[in-house]
């Protein structure tokens, strides 16, 4: 029974949380009030850990919250609930888009949103920079990473591993 409730609650979050993973946080606080699955304090820990582990934030938090509510099965069910609306809605939208992609209005709308998405990407970068690029050393590291990325063009995975090693060596 708890699996059904978990699935429905996270399906609802997937349907109404529009945007990045952090938008799921207020919904999770509601869950903490409504059920005794986890406390608000545990939720704060979950957010911190979800931010410092691989994987999209929203998915990490769903797995974490589901696990706290009902063990391994709970983690899986909550995650499936969270992503199910995406899969359904995106398939519908992709079909519509295929049909109307040549439409003048659709072209105008997509063209108008592109510069806004560039702003959103810049904003996301600034938010991470505010927490991580904070002194002379980290500014120099940023410049060094950027120069390597720009001129050397290896896979991002290479640089992420390198950065983890650099962080540990320099005790950032």
């Amino acid at each position: 029974m708890i699996y059904v409730i978990l699935f429905l609650e996270f399906f609802k979050i997937g349907l109404f949380a529009i945007g990045g993973g952090l938008v799921t946080v207020p919904f999770l606080f509601n869950l903490a009030e409504k059920y005794s699955w986890f406390t608000a304090k545990e939720l704060a820990d979950m957010i911190a850990i979800s931010e410092s582990t691989p994987g999209p934030l929203g998915v990490n938090m769903a797995t974490y919250a589901g696990y706290h509510a009902a063990g391994i099965g709970g983690g899986i069910i909550a995650t499936i609930g969270l992503v199910a609306p995406s899969v359904i809605v995106i398939i519908l939208v992709a079909n519509l888009l295929r049909k109307y992609s040549k439409n003048y209005k659709v072209q105008t709308v997509l063209g108008g949103i592109r510069p806004a998405v560039i702003a959103l990407i810049m904003y996301a970068g600034l938010q991470i920079a505010r927490l991580s690029v904070t002194n002379v050393l980290t500014v120099l590291l940023f410049a060094g990473f950027w120069a390597m990325i720009h001129f050397w063009k290896k896979s991002p995975i290479f640089y992420l591993c390198l950065a983890a090693a650099v962080g540990m060596v320099l005790k950032l």
């Binding site: 949380a17 979800s50 410092s52 934030l57 992503v83 995406s86 896979s155 991002p156 992420l160 983890a164």
Partner: protein, 178 residues
């Protein structure tokens, strides 16, 4: 079947190396999907983000589903999304079950401090490329400036930024056509 496994593996790798939200995975997507595999060009990837931003669900999953669906239909959508969430499921379950006490380990903190700087550098590099392609005339420049100001000064939610920019583009084009 091989194509589905390939999609699953690709997004498994992306899920494993995405630290943060959906925008942090953009450098990986651009490298794997645009540069290496040629599934779509950078402009199309931006459009997928626009759609992922305003449709229900978290962006990273929306974009993964979209790319999977375009490559191999409904099965592809499911394979890509499954690939994206499996690393989270495994890692988070392990942490919640046994590793929670190690999460405050200082070496892990150092590693993540380094990773965050690198994510900022990866995003900065992508922005340079997108800027050249995306900001090409006065209208796109105006929309970009309006959007970044609304985000930075008024903390406007991303959904509204996207909706407003779409409305602006429609209104201005309509006025120009007259």
């Amino acid at each position: 079947m091989k194509q589905l496994l390939d999609l699953f593996g690709l997004f498994f790798k992306i899920g494993l190396f995405t630290f943060g939200g959906g925008y942090a995975m953009l450098p990986l997507l651009q490298d794997e999907i645009c540069r290496r595999r040629g599934f779509c060009n950078e402009q199309e990837l931006l459009d997928l983000y626009s759609i992922g931003q305003v449709t229900p669900g978290i962006i990273s999953i929306n974009v993964a589903t979209f790319i999977g669906y375009r490559q191999a239909g409904i099965k592809g959508a499911v394979a890509a999304t499954a690939g994206m969430v499996v690393p989270s499921l495994v890692i988070i379950t392990l942490i919640a079950a046994v590793l929670q006490k190690y999460m405050h380990n200082r070496w892990l903190t150092y590693a993540f401090a380094g990773i965050r700087i690198c994510v900022v550098a990866l995003i900065a590099d992508i922005l340079l490329g997108l800027w050249k392609k995306g900001i090409t005339n006065r209208l796109s420049m105006a929309i970009f400036l309006g959007a970044i100001l609304l985000l930075l000064i008024f903390n406007l939610s991303a959904v509204w930024v996207v909706v407003l920019s779409a409305a602006t583009a429609l209104t201005v084009r309509k006025a120009w056509r007259k």
